[in-house]
Protein backbone atom coordinates (compact mmCIF):
# COMPACT_ATOMS: atom_id res chain seq x y z
CA UNK A 1 0.00 0.00 0.00
CA UNK A 2 1.61 3.24 -1.13
CA UNK A 3 1.36 6.58 0.64
CA UNK A 4 -0.89 7.70 -2.16
CA UNK A 5 -3.29 4.84 -1.56
CA UNK A 6 -3.43 5.76 2.11
CA UNK A 7 -4.22 9.36 1.31
CA UNK A 8 -6.94 8.35 -1.12
CA UNK A 9 -8.50 5.70 1.09
CA UNK A 10 -8.57 8.00 4.09
CA UNK A 11 -10.10 10.78 2.04
CA UNK A 12 -12.82 8.49 0.68
CA UNK A 13 -13.49 7.09 4.15
CA UNK A 14 -13.93 10.66 5.42
CA UNK A 15 -16.64 11.53 2.87
CA UNK A 16 -20.02 12.21 4.42
CA UNK A 17 -22.55 10.00 2.66
CA UNK A 18 -26.08 10.77 3.90
CA UNK A 19 -27.99 8.03 5.75
CA UNK A 20 -31.37 8.58 4.10
CA UNK A 21 -32.97 7.51 1.89
CA UNK A 22 -31.17 4.30 2.86
CA UNK A 23 -32.16 2.54 -0.36
CA UNK A 24 -30.30 5.23 -2.25
CA UNK A 25 -27.16 5.66 -0.16
CA UNK A 26 -26.59 2.07 1.04
CA UNK A 27 -25.59 0.94 -2.49
CA UNK A 28 -23.23 3.91 -2.72
CA UNK A 29 -21.61 3.05 0.62
CA UNK A 30 -21.38 -0.57 -0.56
CA UNK A 31 -19.66 0.49 -3.79
CA UNK A 32 -17.14 2.69 -1.98
CA UNK A 33 -16.46 -0.06 0.58
CA UNK A 34 -15.65 -2.47 -2.25
CA UNK A 35 -12.70 -0.24 -2.94
CA UNK A 36 -11.08 -1.57 -6.06
CA UNK A 37 -7.55 -0.78 -7.11
CA UNK A 38 -8.11 2.98 -7.14
CA UNK A 39 -5.43 3.40 -9.77
CA UNK A 40 -7.02 6.49 -11.28
CA UNK A 41 -6.84 8.78 -8.25
CA UNK A 42 -3.33 7.47 -7.54
CA UNK A 43 -2.29 8.46 -11.06
CA UNK A 44 -3.75 11.92 -10.46
CA UNK A 45 -1.75 12.43 -7.25
CA UNK A 46 1.42 11.12 -8.90
CA UNK A 47 0.93 13.53 -11.81
CA UNK A 48 0.60 16.45 -9.41
CA UNK A 49 3.68 15.37 -7.43
CA UNK A 50 5.71 14.82 -10.59
CA UNK A 51 5.22 18.48 -11.47
CA UNK A 52 6.32 19.73 -8.07
CA UNK A 53 2.91 20.01 -6.45
CA UNK A 54 1.89 18.59 -3.10
CA UNK A 55 -0.14 15.46 -3.92
CA UNK A 56 -2.82 16.63 -1.47
CA UNK A 57 -3.56 19.55 -3.80
CA UNK A 58 -5.01 17.02 -6.25
CA UNK A 59 -7.09 14.98 -3.77
CA UNK A 60 -10.47 16.52 -4.62
CA UNK A 61 -10.28 16.06 -8.41
CA UNK A 62 -8.57 12.67 -7.95
CA UNK A 63 -11.39 11.30 -5.83
CA UNK A 64 -14.07 13.08 -7.87
CA UNK A 65 -12.78 11.22 -10.95
CA UNK A 66 -12.70 7.94 -8.98
CA UNK A 67 -16.36 8.46 -8.04
CA UNK A 68 -17.12 9.21 -11.70
CA UNK A 69 -15.41 5.90 -12.55
CA UNK A 70 -17.52 4.06 -9.97
CA UNK A 71 -20.69 5.65 -11.34
CA UNK A 72 -19.86 4.34 -14.82
CA UNK A 73 -19.24 0.84 -13.43
CA UNK A 74 -22.62 0.78 -11.66
CA UNK A 75 -24.45 1.74 -14.87
CA UNK A 76 -22.28 -0.50 -17.09
CA UNK A 77 -23.11 -3.49 -14.90
CA UNK A 78 -26.83 -2.92 -15.55
CA UNK A 79 -26.31 -2.64 -19.29
CA UNK A 80 -23.99 -5.66 -19.43
CA UNK A 81 -26.07 -7.59 -16.86
CA UNK A 82 -22.84 -8.21 -14.93
CA UNK A 83 -23.47 -9.90 -11.64
CA UNK A 84 -19.91 -9.67 -10.32
CA UNK A 85 -17.86 -6.59 -9.56
CA UNK A 86 -14.58 -6.71 -7.65
CA UNK A 87 -15.32 -10.27 -6.62
CA UNK A 88 -18.63 -9.31 -5.01
CA UNK A 89 -22.19 -8.94 -6.21
CA UNK A 90 -22.67 -5.90 -8.42
CA UNK A 91 -25.14 -3.23 -7.27
CA UNK A 92 -27.33 -4.30 -10.18
CA UNK A 93 -27.37 -7.91 -8.98
CA UNK A 94 -27.78 -7.09 -5.29
CA UNK A 95 -30.45 -4.36 -5.53
CA UNK A 96 -31.83 -4.55 -9.07
CA UNK A 97 -31.83 -2.17 -12.04
CA UNK A 98 -33.86 0.68 -10.61
CA UNK A 99 -31.68 1.10 -7.56
CA UNK A 100 -28.56 0.78 -9.68
CA UNK A 101 -29.77 3.50 -12.07
CA UNK A 102 -30.60 5.94 -9.31
CA UNK A 103 -27.66 5.16 -7.01
CA UNK A 104 -25.39 5.56 -10.03
CA UNK A 105 -26.94 8.93 -10.85
CA UNK A 106 -26.51 10.07 -7.27
CA UNK A 107 -22.89 8.94 -7.13
CA UNK A 108 -22.28 11.09 -10.19
CA UNK A 109 -23.88 13.97 -8.32
CA UNK A 110 -21.53 13.37 -5.39
CA UNK A 111 -18.63 13.29 -7.82
CA UNK A 112 -19.56 16.75 -9.15
CA UNK A 113 -20.13 17.95 -5.61
CA UNK A 114 -16.58 16.95 -4.71
CA UNK A 115 -15.10 18.51 -7.83
CA UNK A 116 -16.95 21.74 -7.04
CA UNK A 117 -15.41 21.79 -3.57
CA UNK A 118 -12.01 21.87 -5.26
CA UNK A 119 -11.66 25.63 -5.19
CA UNK A 120 -8.11 26.34 -6.35
CA UNK A 121 -7.12 28.35 -9.39
CA UNK A 122 -7.61 25.58 -11.93
CA UNK A 123 -10.93 24.30 -10.66
CA UNK A 124 -12.95 25.65 -13.57
CA UNK A 125 -10.71 23.67 -15.90
CA UNK A 126 -11.33 20.58 -13.80
CA UNK A 127 -15.13 20.86 -14.03
CA UNK A 128 -14.93 21.21 -17.75
CA UNK A 129 -12.43 18.34 -18.02
CA UNK A 130 -14.71 16.10 -15.98
CA UNK A 131 -17.77 16.90 -18.07
CA UNK A 132 -16.02 16.32 -21.38
CA UNK A 133 -14.58 13.07 -20.05
CA UNK A 134 -17.93 11.91 -18.73
CA UNK A 135 -19.63 12.48 -22.10
CA UNK A 136 -16.81 10.67 -23.92
CA UNK A 137 -17.09 7.67 -21.60
CA UNK A 138 -20.81 7.45 -22.45
CA UNK A 139 -19.94 7.57 -26.15
CA UNK A 140 -17.40 4.78 -25.66
CA UNK A 141 -19.92 2.64 -23.79
CA UNK A 142 -22.44 3.16 -26.61
CA UNK A 143 -19.86 2.11 -29.21
CA UNK A 144 -19.08 -0.97 -27.11
CA UNK A 145 -22.77 -1.90 -27.03
CA UNK A 146 -23.12 -1.21 -30.76
CA UNK A 147 -20.21 -3.57 -31.41
CA UNK A 148 -22.13 -6.43 -29.81
CA UNK A 149 -24.48 -6.45 -32.78
CA UNK A 150 -21.69 -6.42 -35.36
CA UNK A 151 -19.88 -9.50 -36.57
CA UNK A 152 -16.62 -7.85 -37.53
CA UNK A 153 -15.18 -4.67 -36.04
CA UNK A 154 -11.90 -3.27 -37.45
CA UNK A 155 -9.11 -2.93 -34.89
CA UNK A 156 -9.01 0.82 -35.52
CA UNK A 157 -12.63 1.23 -34.48
CA UNK A 158 -12.03 -0.94 -31.45
CA UNK A 159 -9.12 1.29 -30.44
CA UNK A 160 -11.29 4.40 -30.81
CA UNK A 161 -13.91 2.78 -28.57
CA UNK A 162 -11.43 2.00 -25.77
CA UNK A 163 -9.89 5.45 -26.13
CA UNK A 164 -13.29 6.87 -25.21
CA UNK A 165 -14.48 4.24 -22.78
CA UNK A 166 -11.23 3.79 -20.84
CA UNK A 167 -8.29 5.94 -21.86
CA UNK A 168 -9.81 9.43 -21.56
CA UNK A 169 -10.44 8.90 -17.85
CA UNK A 170 -6.81 8.03 -17.13
CA UNK A 171 -5.85 11.00 -19.31
CA UNK A 172 -8.20 13.23 -17.31
CA UNK A 173 -6.56 12.04 -14.08
CA UNK A 174 -3.14 12.97 -15.45
CA UNK A 175 -4.39 16.36 -16.61
CA UNK A 176 -6.25 17.12 -13.37
CA UNK A 177 -3.02 16.37 -11.50
CA UNK A 178 -1.14 18.76 -13.78
CA UNK A 179 -3.83 21.44 -13.38
CA UNK A 180 -3.64 21.05 -9.59
CA UNK A 181 0.14 21.54 -9.77
CA UNK A 182 -0.50 24.76 -11.73
CA UNK A 183 1.38 23.43 -14.74
CA UNK A 184 1.40 25.20 -18.11
CA UNK A 185 -1.26 24.29 -20.70
CA UNK A 186 1.45 22.52 -22.77
CA UNK A 187 2.40 20.33 -19.81
CA UNK A 188 -1.28 19.67 -19.06
CA UNK A 189 -1.80 18.48 -22.63
CA UNK A 190 1.35 16.34 -22.63
CA UNK A 191 0.19 14.71 -19.41
CA UNK A 192 -3.24 14.16 -20.97
CA UNK A 193 -1.70 12.43 -23.97
CA UNK A 194 0.53 10.35 -21.72
CA UNK A 195 -2.68 9.20 -20.00
CA UNK A 196 -4.35 8.32 -23.32
CA UNK A 197 -1.47 6.05 -24.24
CA UNK A 198 -1.18 4.22 -20.94
CA UNK A 199 -4.98 4.01 -20.89
CA UNK A 200 -5.02 2.21 -24.24
CA UNK A 201 -2.26 -0.11 -23.00
CA UNK A 202 -4.18 -0.66 -19.78
CA UNK A 203 -7.32 -1.79 -21.60
CA UNK A 204 -5.46 -4.15 -23.93
CA UNK A 205 -3.76 -5.64 -20.86
CA UNK A 206 -7.29 -6.13 -19.49
CA UNK A 207 -8.29 -7.93 -22.67
CA UNK A 208 -5.23 -10.17 -22.35
CA UNK A 209 -6.01 -11.01 -18.73
CA UNK A 210 -9.48 -12.24 -19.65
CA UNK A 211 -7.84 -15.03 -21.63
CA UNK A 212 -4.34 -15.44 -20.25
CA UNK A 213 -4.64 -14.54 -16.55
CA UNK A 214 -2.85 -17.07 -14.36
CA UNK A 215 -4.33 -15.93 -11.11
CA UNK A 216 -7.56 -16.09 -9.20
CA UNK A 217 -7.26 -12.43 -8.31
CA UNK A 218 -9.07 -11.07 -11.34
CA UNK A 219 -12.28 -10.49 -9.37
CA UNK A 220 -14.28 -11.64 -12.35
CA UNK A 221 -14.52 -14.93 -14.18
CA UNK A 222 -11.83 -15.75 -16.71
CA UNK A 223 -13.09 -16.07 -20.28
CA UNK A 224 -16.07 -13.75 -19.80
CA UNK A 225 -15.26 -11.71 -22.89
CA UNK A 226 -15.13 -14.81 -25.07
CA UNK A 227 -18.26 -16.25 -23.51
CA UNK A 228 -20.28 -13.07 -24.14
CA UNK A 229 -18.85 -12.43 -27.65
CA UNK A 230 -17.41 -9.13 -26.49
CA UNK A 231 -15.16 -7.34 -28.93
CA UNK A 232 -11.61 -7.06 -27.58
CA UNK A 233 -8.23 -6.27 -29.00
CA UNK A 234 -7.67 -10.02 -29.24
CA UNK A 235 -10.85 -10.80 -31.12
CA UNK A 236 -10.69 -7.85 -33.50
CA UNK A 237 -6.97 -8.36 -34.18
CA UNK A 238 -7.35 -12.12 -34.62
CA UNK A 239 -10.03 -11.47 -37.24
CA UNK A 240 -7.42 -9.49 -39.15
CA UNK A 241 -4.62 -12.03 -38.65
CA UNK A 242 -6.48 -15.25 -39.37
CA UNK A 243 -7.46 -16.47 -42.82
CA UNK A 244 -9.42 -19.21 -44.51
CA UNK A 245 -10.77 -22.00 -42.33
CA UNK A 246 -9.34 -20.61 -39.13
CA UNK A 247 -11.01 -17.25 -39.70
CA UNK A 248 -14.28 -19.00 -40.46
CA UNK A 249 -13.93 -21.03 -37.27
CA UNK A 250 -13.36 -17.89 -35.17
CA UNK A 251 -16.37 -16.15 -36.74
CA UNK A 252 -18.40 -19.26 -36.09
CA UNK A 253 -17.48 -19.22 -32.40
CA UNK A 254 -18.42 -15.54 -32.11
CA UNK A 255 -21.71 -15.89 -33.96
CA UNK A 256 -23.29 -19.02 -32.53
CA UNK A 257 -24.37 -18.94 -28.93
CA UNK A 258 -25.00 -22.61 -28.15
CA UNK A 259 -21.45 -23.60 -27.26
CA UNK A 260 -20.45 -24.99 -23.92
CA UNK A 261 -18.46 -22.28 -22.15
CA UNK A 262 -15.25 -24.25 -21.62
CA UNK A 263 -15.31 -25.76 -25.10
CA UNK A 264 -15.73 -22.35 -26.70
CA UNK A 265 -12.99 -20.83 -24.54
CA UNK A 266 -10.49 -23.56 -25.47
CA UNK A 267 -11.45 -23.36 -29.14
CA UNK A 268 -11.05 -19.59 -29.35
CA UNK A 269 -7.82 -19.67 -27.36
CA UNK A 270 -6.38 -22.22 -29.78
CA UNK A 271 -7.15 -19.89 -32.68
CA UNK A 272 -5.68 -16.93 -30.77
CA UNK A 273 -2.51 -18.94 -30.20
CA UNK A 274 -2.38 -19.99 -33.85
CA UNK A 275 -2.19 -16.37 -35.02
CA UNK A 276 0.01 -15.21 -32.14
CA UNK A 277 -2.45 -12.52 -31.17
CA UNK A 278 -1.10 -12.53 -27.62
CA UNK A 279 2.26 -11.38 -28.93
CA UNK A 280 0.57 -8.81 -31.17
CA UNK A 281 -1.25 -7.45 -28.12
CA UNK A 282 1.94 -7.24 -26.07
CA UNK A 283 3.66 -5.44 -28.91
CA UNK A 284 0.76 -2.99 -29.08
CA UNK A 285 0.95 -2.44 -25.32
CA UNK A 286 4.70 -1.82 -25.44
CA UNK A 287 4.19 0.60 -28.33
CA UNK A 288 1.77 2.68 -26.26
CA UNK A 289 4.07 2.68 -23.24
CA UNK A 290 6.99 3.79 -25.39
CA UNK A 291 4.88 6.54 -26.90
CA UNK A 292 3.72 7.67 -23.47
CA UNK A 293 7.27 8.10 -22.24
CA UNK A 294 8.43 9.77 -25.43
CA UNK A 295 5.70 12.37 -24.82
CA UNK A 296 7.00 12.81 -21.29
CA UNK A 297 10.55 13.31 -22.56
CA UNK A 298 9.51 16.37 -24.54
CA UNK A 299 8.87 18.15 -21.23
CA UNK A 300 12.54 17.93 -20.15
CA UNK A 301 11.68 16.89 -16.61
CA UNK A 302 14.55 15.71 -14.36
CA UNK A 303 15.04 11.95 -14.30
CA UNK A 304 14.10 11.62 -10.63
CA UNK A 305 10.86 13.52 -11.26
CA UNK A 306 9.50 10.79 -13.51
CA UNK A 307 10.45 7.84 -11.29
CA UNK A 308 6.96 7.53 -9.83
CA UNK A 309 5.29 7.57 -13.24
CA UNK A 310 7.72 4.89 -14.42
CA UNK A 311 6.99 2.71 -11.41
CA UNK A 312 3.23 3.18 -11.66
CA UNK A 313 3.34 2.30 -15.36
CA UNK A 314 5.43 -0.81 -14.69
CA UNK A 315 2.82 -1.96 -12.19
CA UNK A 316 0.11 -1.48 -14.82
CA UNK A 317 2.22 -3.30 -17.38
CA UNK A 318 2.96 -6.40 -15.36
CA UNK A 319 -0.26 -6.54 -13.38
CA UNK A 320 -2.01 -9.86 -13.24
CA UNK A 321 -5.41 -8.64 -12.14
Amino acid sequence: MSNYSNLINEFIASLTIPKRPANLYDPIRYTLAQGGKRLRPELCLIACHTLGGNPKQALYPAVALELLHNFTLIHDDIMDQSELRRGQESVYKKWGSNTAILAGDTLLGLSYDLMLKHTTIGSNKCYSLMTTTFIQICEGQQMDMDFERRKVVPVEEYLEMIRLKTAVLLAACMKAGAISAHASPETQNAFYNFGINIGLAFQIQDDLLDVYSQTEKLGKTIGDDINTNKKTFLSTKAMELLQGEELAALKHYFTKIDFKRQEKFEGVKQLYDACHVKEAAMEQINGYYDKAFRILETLNLKADQTTELHEFTKRLMYREF
Copy 2:
Protein backbone atom coordinates in the same frame (compact mmCIF):
# COMPACT_ATOMS: atom_id res chain seq x y z
CA MET B 1 -46.17 31.41 -27.32
CA SER B 2 -44.40 34.00 -25.19
CA ASN B 3 -41.18 35.78 -26.09
CA TYR B 4 -39.50 33.70 -23.44
CA SER B 5 -40.63 30.48 -25.09
CA ASN B 6 -39.25 31.69 -28.39
CA LEU B 7 -35.89 32.50 -26.82
CA ILE B 8 -35.73 29.11 -25.15
CA ASN B 9 -36.87 27.10 -28.14
CA GLU B 10 -34.44 28.87 -30.45
CA PHE B 11 -31.61 28.34 -28.03
CA ILE B 12 -32.36 24.63 -27.68
CA ALA B 13 -32.70 24.29 -31.46
CA SER B 14 -29.26 25.88 -31.83
CA LEU B 15 -27.52 23.36 -29.57
CA THR B 16 -24.99 21.18 -31.36
CA ILE B 17 -25.85 17.58 -30.60
CA PRO B 18 -23.23 15.25 -32.11
CA LYS B 19 -24.30 12.84 -34.85
CA ARG B 20 -22.37 9.81 -33.61
CA PRO B 21 -22.77 7.39 -32.01
CA ALA B 22 -26.28 7.67 -33.47
CA ASN B 23 -27.73 5.20 -30.98
CA LEU B 24 -26.68 7.57 -28.21
CA TYR B 25 -27.60 10.94 -29.67
CA ASP B 26 -30.77 10.06 -31.62
CA PRO B 27 -32.75 9.49 -28.39
CA ILE B 28 -31.46 12.82 -27.08
CA ARG B 29 -32.53 14.63 -30.25
CA TYR B 30 -35.90 12.85 -30.00
CA THR B 31 -36.33 14.01 -26.41
CA LEU B 32 -35.48 17.61 -27.21
CA ALA B 33 -37.79 17.55 -30.25
CA GLN B 34 -40.67 16.40 -28.02
CA GLY B 35 -40.37 19.78 -26.38
CA GLY B 36 -42.75 19.75 -23.47
CA LYS B 37 -44.03 22.86 -21.76
CA ARG B 38 -40.54 24.13 -20.89
CA LEU B 39 -41.96 25.94 -17.89
CA ARG B 40 -38.73 25.67 -15.90
CA PRO B 41 -36.45 27.63 -18.20
CA GLU B 42 -39.23 30.17 -18.71
CA LEU B 43 -39.44 30.64 -14.94
CA CYS B 44 -35.68 31.15 -14.86
CA LEU B 45 -35.79 33.89 -17.51
CA ILE B 46 -38.75 35.57 -15.80
CA ALA B 47 -36.87 35.54 -12.48
CA CYS B 48 -33.89 37.21 -14.10
CA HIS B 49 -36.07 39.83 -15.81
CA THR B 50 -38.04 40.51 -12.63
CA LEU B 51 -34.81 41.58 -10.94
CA GLY B 52 -33.81 43.93 -13.73
CA GLY B 53 -31.61 41.57 -15.70
CA ASN B 54 -31.80 40.90 -19.43
CA PRO B 55 -33.54 37.50 -19.72
CA LYS B 56 -30.84 36.39 -22.16
CA GLN B 57 -28.32 36.52 -19.30
CA ALA B 58 -30.09 33.51 -17.80
CA LEU B 59 -30.41 31.41 -20.98
CA TYR B 60 -27.51 29.05 -20.27
CA PRO B 61 -28.53 28.06 -16.74
CA ALA B 62 -32.22 28.04 -17.77
CA VAL B 63 -31.65 25.55 -20.56
CA ALA B 64 -29.07 23.58 -18.54
CA LEU B 65 -31.75 23.05 -15.88
CA GLU B 66 -34.29 22.09 -18.56
CA LEU B 67 -31.85 19.44 -19.86
CA LEU B 68 -31.36 18.23 -16.29
CA HIS B 69 -35.15 17.94 -16.05
CA ASN B 70 -35.28 15.93 -19.29
CA PHE B 71 -32.51 13.65 -18.04
CA THR B 72 -34.55 12.85 -14.91
CA LEU B 73 -37.64 12.11 -17.03
CA ILE B 74 -35.72 9.65 -19.22
CA HIS B 75 -34.45 7.75 -16.18
CA ASP B 76 -37.76 7.99 -14.29
CA ASP B 77 -39.57 6.44 -17.25
CA ILE B 78 -37.30 3.39 -17.03
CA MET B 79 -37.85 3.03 -13.30
CA ASP B 80 -41.62 3.54 -13.60
CA GLN B 81 -41.83 1.55 -16.84
CA SER B 82 -43.72 4.47 -18.37
CA GLU B 83 -44.38 3.97 -22.04
CA LEU B 84 -45.78 7.44 -22.73
CA ARG B 85 -44.10 10.80 -22.38
CA ARG B 86 -45.57 13.99 -23.76
CA GLY B 87 -48.08 11.98 -25.74
CA GLN B 88 -45.36 10.01 -27.54
CA GLU B 89 -43.41 6.87 -26.81
CA SER B 90 -40.90 7.32 -23.99
CA VAL B 91 -37.22 6.75 -24.79
CA TYR B 92 -37.44 3.66 -22.59
CA LYS B 93 -40.32 2.24 -24.64
CA LYS B 94 -38.86 3.23 -28.02
CA TRP B 95 -35.23 2.15 -27.50
CA GLY B 96 -35.20 0.01 -24.35
CA SER B 97 -33.61 0.37 -20.92
CA ASN B 98 -29.95 0.33 -21.88
CA THR B 99 -30.26 3.14 -24.38
CA ALA B 100 -32.42 5.12 -21.97
CA ILE B 101 -29.85 4.75 -19.18
CA LEU B 102 -26.95 5.88 -21.34
CA ALA B 103 -28.77 8.59 -23.30
CA GLY B 104 -30.02 9.95 -19.98
CA ASP B 105 -26.49 9.99 -18.58
CA THR B 106 -25.23 11.76 -21.67
CA LEU B 107 -28.00 14.35 -21.55
CA LEU B 108 -26.93 15.11 -17.99
CA GLY B 109 -23.39 15.56 -19.29
CA LEU B 110 -24.68 18.00 -21.92
CA SER B 111 -26.55 19.83 -19.19
CA TYR B 112 -23.33 20.31 -17.19
CA ASP B 113 -21.53 21.26 -20.36
CA LEU B 114 -24.04 24.03 -20.96
CA MET B 115 -23.92 25.24 -17.38
CA LEU B 116 -20.12 25.36 -17.58
CA LYS B 117 -20.37 27.57 -20.66
CA HIS B 118 -22.26 30.08 -18.54
CA THR B 119 -19.24 32.16 -17.62
CA THR B 120 -20.61 35.20 -15.83
CA ILE B 121 -19.86 36.21 -12.26
CA GLY B 122 -22.34 33.88 -10.59
CA SER B 123 -21.56 30.79 -12.62
CA ASN B 124 -19.79 28.96 -9.79
CA LYS B 125 -22.94 29.37 -7.72
CA CYS B 126 -24.97 27.93 -10.60
CA TYR B 127 -22.82 24.76 -10.86
CA SER B 128 -23.16 24.18 -7.17
CA LEU B 129 -26.90 24.89 -7.25
CA MET B 130 -27.35 22.44 -10.12
CA THR B 131 -25.42 19.68 -8.35
CA THR B 132 -27.29 20.07 -5.06
CA THR B 133 -30.58 20.11 -6.94
CA PHE B 134 -29.67 17.06 -9.00
CA ILE B 135 -28.83 15.03 -5.86
CA GLN B 136 -32.05 16.14 -4.16
CA ILE B 137 -34.12 15.08 -7.17
CA CYS B 138 -32.54 11.61 -6.95
CA GLU B 139 -33.42 11.48 -3.25
CA GLY B 140 -36.99 12.46 -4.05
CA GLN B 141 -37.27 9.80 -6.75
CA GLN B 142 -35.96 7.19 -4.30
CA MET B 143 -38.54 8.23 -1.67
CA ASP B 144 -41.25 8.00 -4.35
CA MET B 145 -40.13 4.45 -5.20
CA ASP B 146 -39.92 3.53 -1.50
CA PHE B 147 -43.50 4.74 -1.05
CA GLU B 148 -44.71 2.18 -3.58
CA ARG B 149 -43.97 -0.57 -1.08
CA ARG B 150 -45.74 1.18 1.80
CA LYS B 151 -49.47 0.98 2.44
CA VAL B 152 -49.85 4.27 4.24
CA VAL B 153 -47.66 7.35 3.83
CA PRO B 154 -48.35 10.42 6.00
CA VAL B 155 -49.11 13.60 4.03
CA GLU B 156 -46.06 15.27 5.61
CA GLU B 157 -43.73 12.64 4.18
CA TYR B 158 -45.42 12.90 0.82
CA LEU B 159 -44.87 16.67 0.83
CA GLU B 160 -41.18 16.19 1.66
CA MET B 161 -40.90 13.76 -1.26
CA ILE B 162 -42.41 16.21 -3.78
CA ARG B 163 -40.30 19.03 -2.35
CA LEU B 164 -37.24 17.03 -3.38
CA LYS B 165 -38.54 15.41 -6.54
CA THR B 166 -40.28 18.43 -8.04
CA ALA B 167 -40.09 21.69 -6.09
CA VAL B 168 -36.30 22.09 -5.72
CA LEU B 169 -35.90 22.23 -9.50
CA LEU B 170 -38.39 25.09 -9.88
CA ALA B 171 -36.67 26.74 -6.92
CA ALA B 172 -33.29 26.27 -8.61
CA CYS B 173 -34.66 27.92 -11.77
CA MET B 174 -35.80 30.92 -9.73
CA LYS B 175 -32.46 31.15 -7.94
CA ALA B 176 -30.41 30.72 -11.12
CA GLY B 177 -32.42 33.57 -12.64
CA ALA B 178 -31.67 35.73 -9.58
CA ILE B 179 -27.98 34.80 -9.70
CA SER B 180 -27.86 35.72 -13.39
CA ALA B 181 -29.39 39.10 -12.55
CA HIS B 182 -26.60 39.59 -9.96
CA ALA B 183 -29.14 39.81 -7.14
CA SER B 184 -28.11 39.81 -3.48
CA PRO B 185 -27.92 36.48 -1.60
CA GLU B 186 -31.08 37.44 0.34
CA THR B 187 -33.00 37.97 -2.90
CA GLN B 188 -31.60 34.73 -4.32
CA ASN B 189 -32.86 32.84 -1.28
CA ALA B 190 -36.27 34.53 -1.35
CA PHE B 191 -36.61 33.58 -5.02
CA TYR B 192 -35.56 30.01 -4.17
CA ASN B 193 -38.24 29.77 -1.50
CA PHE B 194 -40.81 31.25 -3.85
CA GLY B 195 -39.90 28.43 -6.24
CA ILE B 196 -40.29 25.78 -3.54
CA ASN B 197 -43.81 26.93 -2.80
CA ILE B 198 -45.03 27.16 -6.38
CA GLY B 199 -43.26 23.82 -7.01
CA LEU B 200 -45.26 22.13 -4.28
CA ALA B 201 -48.45 23.71 -5.63
CA PHE B 202 -47.49 22.63 -9.16
CA GLN B 203 -47.12 18.96 -8.15
CA ILE B 204 -50.40 18.88 -6.23
CA GLN B 205 -52.07 20.38 -9.30
CA ASP B 206 -50.50 17.50 -11.25
CA ASP B 207 -51.99 15.02 -8.78
CA LEU B 208 -55.39 16.65 -9.22
CA LEU B 209 -55.19 16.51 -13.01
CA ASP B 210 -54.60 12.75 -12.94
CA VAL B 211 -58.09 12.36 -11.51
CA TYR B 212 -60.02 15.48 -12.44
CA SER B 213 -58.57 16.56 -15.79
CA GLN B 214 -61.31 17.47 -18.26
CA THR B 215 -59.11 17.55 -21.30
CA GLU B 216 -57.33 15.23 -23.63
CA LYS B 217 -54.24 17.39 -23.50
CA LEU B 218 -52.60 15.73 -20.53
CA GLY B 219 -50.16 13.78 -22.71
CA LYS B 220 -50.58 10.79 -20.46
CA THR B 221 -53.51 8.57 -19.56
CA ILE B 222 -55.94 9.86 -16.97
CA GLY B 223 -56.10 7.74 -13.81
CA ASP B 224 -52.55 6.43 -14.12
CA ASP B 225 -51.68 7.30 -10.54
CA ILE B 226 -54.69 5.40 -9.22
CA ASN B 227 -54.10 2.47 -11.53
CA THR B 228 -50.47 2.08 -10.41
CA ASN B 229 -51.17 2.73 -6.71
CA LYS B 230 -48.93 5.79 -6.75
CA LYS B 231 -48.91 7.91 -3.64
CA THR B 232 -50.27 11.38 -4.37
CA PHE B 233 -51.53 14.28 -2.31
CA LEU B 234 -55.02 12.95 -2.95
CA SER B 235 -54.35 9.39 -1.81
CA THR B 236 -52.28 10.31 1.25
CA LYS B 237 -54.69 13.07 2.32
CA ALA B 238 -57.76 10.90 1.72
CA MET B 239 -56.21 8.25 4.00
CA GLU B 240 -56.16 10.91 6.72
CA LEU B 241 -59.65 12.23 6.01
CA LEU B 242 -61.54 8.98 5.61
CA GLN B 243 -62.58 6.72 8.46
CA GLY B 244 -64.18 3.34 9.12
CA GLU B 245 -65.53 1.45 6.14
CA GLU B 246 -64.60 4.11 3.61
CA LEU B 247 -60.98 4.12 4.78
CA ALA B 248 -60.93 0.33 4.58
CA ALA B 249 -62.36 0.49 1.08
CA LEU B 250 -59.68 2.96 -0.07
CA LYS B 251 -56.90 0.83 1.43
CA HIS B 252 -58.42 -2.18 -0.26
CA TYR B 253 -58.31 -0.46 -3.65
CA PHE B 254 -54.68 0.51 -3.13
CA THR B 255 -53.57 -2.93 -1.92
CA LYS B 256 -55.22 -5.33 -4.29
CA ILE B 257 -54.10 -5.33 -7.87
CA ASP B 258 -56.78 -7.36 -9.64
CA PHE B 259 -59.28 -4.59 -10.23
CA LYS B 260 -60.46 -3.55 -13.63
CA ARG B 261 -58.91 -0.18 -14.37
CA GLN B 262 -62.14 1.77 -14.89
CA GLU B 263 -63.92 0.16 -11.95
CA LYS B 264 -61.03 0.98 -9.63
CA PHE B 265 -60.83 4.56 -10.93
CA GLU B 266 -64.54 5.18 -10.36
CA GLY B 267 -64.42 3.53 -6.92
CA VAL B 268 -61.44 5.58 -5.73
CA LYS B 269 -62.88 8.78 -7.19
CA GLN B 270 -66.13 8.21 -5.31
CA LEU B 271 -64.17 7.92 -2.05
CA TYR B 272 -62.14 11.03 -2.92
CA ASP B 273 -65.37 12.92 -3.52
CA ALA B 274 -66.86 11.63 -0.27
CA CYS B 275 -64.05 13.17 1.80
CA HIS B 276 -63.77 16.32 -0.36
CA VAL B 277 -60.09 15.72 -0.95
CA LYS B 278 -60.26 17.74 -4.17
CA GLU B 279 -61.19 20.80 -2.13
CA ALA B 280 -58.47 20.01 0.41
CA ALA B 281 -55.93 19.86 -2.43
CA MET B 282 -57.09 23.17 -3.88
CA GLU B 283 -56.85 24.76 -0.45
CA GLN B 284 -53.32 23.41 -0.10
CA ILE B 285 -52.40 24.76 -3.54
CA ASN B 286 -53.81 28.20 -2.71
CA GLY B 287 -51.91 28.17 0.57
CA TYR B 288 -48.61 27.60 -1.24
CA TYR B 289 -49.31 30.31 -3.81
CA ASP B 290 -50.19 32.77 -1.05
CA LYS B 291 -47.01 31.88 0.80
CA ALA B 292 -44.95 32.28 -2.38
CA PHE B 293 -46.21 35.80 -2.95
CA ARG B 294 -45.85 36.78 0.71
CA ILE B 295 -42.17 35.81 0.38
CA LEU B 296 -41.93 38.00 -2.70
CA GLU B 297 -43.50 40.94 -0.86
CA THR B 298 -40.64 40.97 1.67
CA LEU B 299 -38.36 42.09 -1.17
CA ASN B 300 -40.25 45.37 -1.72
CA LEU B 301 -40.19 45.05 -5.51
CA LYS B 302 -42.29 47.48 -7.52
CA ALA B 303 -45.75 46.17 -8.45
CA ASP B 304 -45.02 46.13 -12.18
CA GLN B 305 -41.84 44.11 -11.57
CA THR B 306 -43.79 41.12 -10.29
CA THR B 307 -46.45 41.10 -13.02
CA GLU B 308 -44.75 38.37 -15.01
CA LEU B 309 -44.36 36.12 -11.99
CA HIS B 310 -48.04 36.63 -11.15
CA GLU B 311 -49.09 35.75 -14.69
CA PHE B 312 -46.82 32.72 -14.87
CA THR B 313 -48.15 31.50 -11.54
CA LYS B 314 -51.75 31.98 -12.66
CA ARG B 315 -51.04 29.86 -15.72
CA LEU B 316 -49.64 27.12 -13.47
CA MET B 317 -52.63 27.42 -11.16
CA TYR B 318 -55.34 27.12 -13.78
CA ARG B 319 -53.54 24.84 -16.18
CA GLU B 320 -55.46 21.82 -17.39
CA PHE B 321 -52.54 19.76 -18.64
